[in-house]
Symmetry: C2
Subunit: 141 residues, 2 copies
DNA sequence: CTTTTTCTTGCAACCGGGTTGCAATCTACC
DNA sequence: GGTAGATTGCAACCCGGTTGCAAGAAAAAG
């Protein structure tokens, strides 16, 4: 994704494209997997942790990215594919590798529908499978 | 559950029943819902946080309790029902109330089976629905 | 083009859950 | 009772996340 496309995407989501915001967006596009705050800190040495955090918070509010927990309490951020309104309902499963600490989107597996007992209201769903990814499995065998 | 039963349960799991361990166990039985470390700190003012933590860690290792994350990165502990070997496979869903920060066991809803893509190995599953519990829903309406 | 206002950023400090080193205490066994 | 090992409390630390603040950059007003 080139500079033009990034600027356009941020504009569509209603975000003023500062240099840092473009940097964070680019770092996310350049990674094939979702990134955590600390992963982005390593990738963006010019930026302060708090600045990255604030950009990510802004991105979350504007549905530029989605966040999910990796099952240890660490938030991972993935770019939202859609251009306009984003439909969280048909969201997919994530896998967290306990060996390399990377997370994976399992796009093909979408979240099962759950009927909650009477009185419970759902705001969001956290569903992550933890284990070992193919890469790590291969490397230490 | 009385003192006798607690001692017996700990013994069956291979844990020497010190006073503190019994205290933690009792606190867990007396709560109808899973507890977090900080919840137990409030309930057990005589014990130090680190002691509670070490007891819980021991309990986890001996399958006296199970832990799950509430979707904010905080671990909640629930007593394991079984006396002997505990079968994590038929584990159930949890609900976390974002309003009162309590978690609920939805015993009736067990985790769906997921077929992972080739090469991925699952060690554990983290599946929590976040939202508002009946109690909170009722209280602010 | 300068001034004013607003937004954005880096720094440092803080927060809370979790974790550890260590010395003091307790327990079990001789 | 005396000693070895287990258990505990305290203080300190770790790490991800978060905030207050003052400096710097950008946009709006004059």
């Amino acid at each position: 994704m080139n500079q033009e496309e990034i600027l356009e995407r941020l504009d569509k989501k209603g975000i003023k494209p500062t240099a840092n915001r473009v940097l964070v967006y680019r770092a996310l596009t350049e990674s094939s997997r979702p990134q955590s705050l600390s992963g982005l800190e390593d990738a963006l040495v010019t930026m302060d942790k708090s600045s990255i955090f604030r950009v990510l918070t802004l991105f979350l509010e504007h549905d530029v990215v989605h966040g999910f927990e990796d099952g240890r309490g660490v938030l991972h951020y993935e770019l939202c594919g859609s251009d306009g309104e984003c439909n969280m309902a048909d969201s997919h499963l994530h896998f967290y590798c306990e060996s390399c600490h990377e997370s994976y989107c399992l796009e093909d597996i979408h979240l099962p529908h759950i009927d909650l007992p009477q009185g419970f209201t759902s705001h969001s769903v956290s569903f992550v499978i933890k284990g070992e990814c193919p890469r790590c499995r291969a490397s230490h065998r």
